[in-house]
């Protein structure tokens, strides 16, 4: 319980820092402070936390489903698939409402994620490092199709907007879709035990009486929607779903019902922190949170790959 309080306190402190950081000071009186808070700072802080929590949770679900700790949707093609869906709706119905775009992105992400899941069943399990490699190449192939489609239709700029997650465009009225993440997180919490069992593998899960297929599709659908929401509202952010669950799992083992809130909180804290750092490094200009996190996350991943495990698993 202590950990929970500590995390909650840390997150709150970070949120306060985030709310009071930006190009304009809150206290010099030349701007309407309440307006600034309501329209920009608070939405931005919420958006960063929601995106971070969603991506971290999506990461842990995929890791349990394919039984491999070194993968996450952001590195196995889900955002690229979501962007393909977005591109399709942009081409077919340029004036479509946000909800329609969102559903196309989610559908694309779902197809891409299921594709990766299907691929993962053919990859030999002996070597745990093989699957992430296959995932990266799979993502590369999707990326190539995306670039080709965008290039021939002159939509490259759209892609560059979706491809790098940043929060500078977040304003009141433009991020509310992200609250879907909060609902999905609750749904995930309800299904936590099933997803823990999923991590034992198909045979075990079935003999424990779990409807394996349905649970996998439920989990992957939640992942697809979470990633699609993040891509549509702020852009893709790789590594969050990889680094956070690994840290939590090293630290506290694999009981998802206990871990899910911690994973969500830590993901939120990491993304929010990178956004704050991105705002401060080159003040008053901004560096996208995804850029900051890519550097941080890749370094952490290299450490995860090569550091000896502190204690044997299980």
């Amino acid at each position: 319980m202590k950990v929970a309080w500590l995390l909650a306190g840390g997150l709150l402190a970070l949120a306060l820092v985030s709310v009071s950081t930006g190009a304009t000071s809150l206290w010099n009186g030349s701007v309407d402070r309440d307006l600034l808070l309501v329209v920009s700072r608070v939405p931005r802080t919420c958006a960063a936390m929601l995106a971070g929590a969603g991506l971290a949770l999506a990461g842990v679900v995929v890791q349990q489903t394919v039984q491999n700790r070194l993968v996450e949707p952001g590195l196995t093609g889900t955002p690229e698939a979501a962007m393909l869906g977005l591109l399709a709706v942009t081409l077919l119905a340029p004036g479509a409402a946000l909800a329609a775009k969102m559903s196309f992105a989610a559908a694309g992400a779902l197809v891409g994620t299921i594709g990766f899941f299907a691929l993962s069943r053919y990859v030999p399990r002996k070597d745990p490092m093989l699957l992430p490699l296959v995932g990266l190449i799979y993502a590369g192939i999707l990326q190539a199709s995306l670039v080709w489609a965008a290039w021939t239709t002159d939509l490259m700029q759209y892609i560059s907007i979706w491809a790098s997650g940043e929060f500078s465009g977040v304003l009141q009225g433009r991020y509310e879709l992200l609250w879907i993440v909060a609902f999905l997180a609750v749904a995930l919490y309800v299904a936590a035990d099933r997803i823990t069992i999923l991590g034992l593998g198909e045979d075990y899960a079935k003999s424990l009486g779990l409807n394996y297929r349905r649970t996998v599709y439920l989990g992957l659908t939640i992942v697809a929607i979470m990633v699609a929401v993040v891509v549509v509202t702020v852009g893709a952010m790789p590594f969050v779903g990889l680094v956070v669950p690994n840290i939590v799992s090293r630290w506290r083992g694999d009981i998802l019902r206990q871990n899910l809130p911690i994973i969500a909180a830590l993901g939120a804290a990491f993304v929010l922190a990178s956004d704050v750092v991105g705002r401060l490094v080159r003040w008053p200009y901004e560096i996208p949170a995804a850029t900051i996190f890519a550097v941080l996350g890749a370094a952490l991943f290299l450490w995860l790959l090569n550091a000896p495990r502190a204690r044997p698993h299980g």
């Binding site: 053919y122 190449i137 590369g140 290039w151 790098s164 790789p238 890749a298 090569n306």
Partner: protein, 314 residues
């Protein structure tokens, strides 16, 4: 046998070159020919460079799945170039004369690559997949760092670096063509010089050392050659990951020979032939702009997945 096939491949390349040069030739013949010849030279240089680099790289890594691009060689080049622009300023960078600048960049790459990948190979020789994955993530990290550094550049400086970011066969830096040609020729000669040692190194580090080969030294000189080749191809057209995989794989397939004396020229010729034929088809037949790089990535990615999934279990 192998030599005959090599001659055949060269003949094939010559045919493609003729088709590319003479297709639909009319009007001011001399002018058009000089334009086409320039681009042709760049295509051949890039194809030959990435084919040769990949064959050598696969031998010293003792793995047929790797290309220098996959482990982030070209990201390293982009990163170094960004750092150069960042430290010298855009004006200082462009004011440098071409030849010393290219030499200096290549020297930087050689040094950095020897440090990074030399360490990686010595430490990770027995665990190949971990090494690849570490390399891939290293590539992501370097790209992230380059992206971060590019955010710190002002737009005019950014435009200088941007050229190296995306693979494009239409915008070719032709002012560097002469230096590039000299560099590739020297690197090819050097690689043929060490070809017999590479044959021994292909047996694996332990066996090669038992047979009296200074393996670590050979790895370092091979890395130097690869760095020069990658520097040339990245400087001319930007990063391309999978071209080398295609040409090296085809070279092994066509020749069915293990002698690098014929493998290296074959890979170089095939790499050049793929690019020339591809460019001819895309530019003339389909009227598509800029798609070649993407298609090469797409097909190469599929090939990679196929190779991984069909890999015999150890």
């Amino acid at each position: 046998m192998a030599r005959q096939r090599l001659t055949l491949l060269t003949g094939l390349l010559a045919t493609f070159v003729t088709i590319y040069l003479l297709w639909n030739l009319r009007g001011p013949t001399g002018f058009i020919l000089s334009l086409r010849a320039e681009r042709l030279a760049a295509l051949i240089l890039v194809g030959a460079a990435s084919g040769t680099a990949t064959i050598i790289f696969q031998t010293i890594a003792n793995n047929r799945l790797l290309t220098p691009g996959i482990v982030g060689f070209d990201s390293l080049f982009v990163f170094l170039q960004t750092m150069l622009v960042l430290s010298l300023g855009g004006l200082g960078y462009t004011a440098l004369p071409d030849t010393p600048k290219f030499v200096a960049e290549t020297a930087c790459l050689v040094g950095a690559a020897m440090l990074l990948f030399g360490l990686l190979f010595r430490k990770g020789a027995e665990d190949v997949i971990r090494m690849i994955l570490t390399g891939v993530i290293l590539g992501v990290l370097l790209r992230g760092l380059a992206g971060f550094a590019q955010r710190l550049l002002d737009p005019s400086e950014f435009a200088i670096v941007q050229q190296a970011q995306f693979a494009s066969f239409n915008v070719i830096n032709d002012d560097q063509l002469t230096i590039a040609a000299i560099a590739v020729a020297l690197a090819l000669l050097a690689s043929l010089w060490i070809a017999p040692s590479l044959d021994v190194a292909a047996l694996g580090r332990t066996k090669a050392r038992t047979l009296g080969l200074a393996h670590d030294q050979l790895v370092l000189s091979a890395l130097a050659i690869i760095s020069v080749l990658i520097a040339v191809s990245t400087a001319l057209v930007g990063p391309i990951t999978f071209l080398g995989l295609l040409s090296a794989g085809l070279a092994h397939l066509v020749l069915r020979d293990h002698r690098h004396m014929v493998l290296i020229p074959a890979a170089a010729v095939i790499g050049a032939a793929i690019l020339v034929a591809g460019q001819a088809v895309f530019e003339r037949l389909l009227g598509l702009q800029s798609a070649l790089g993407v298609i090469v990535e797409f097909v190469g990615g599929l090939l990679f997945l196929l190779l991984v999934l069909r890999r015999p279990a150890r």
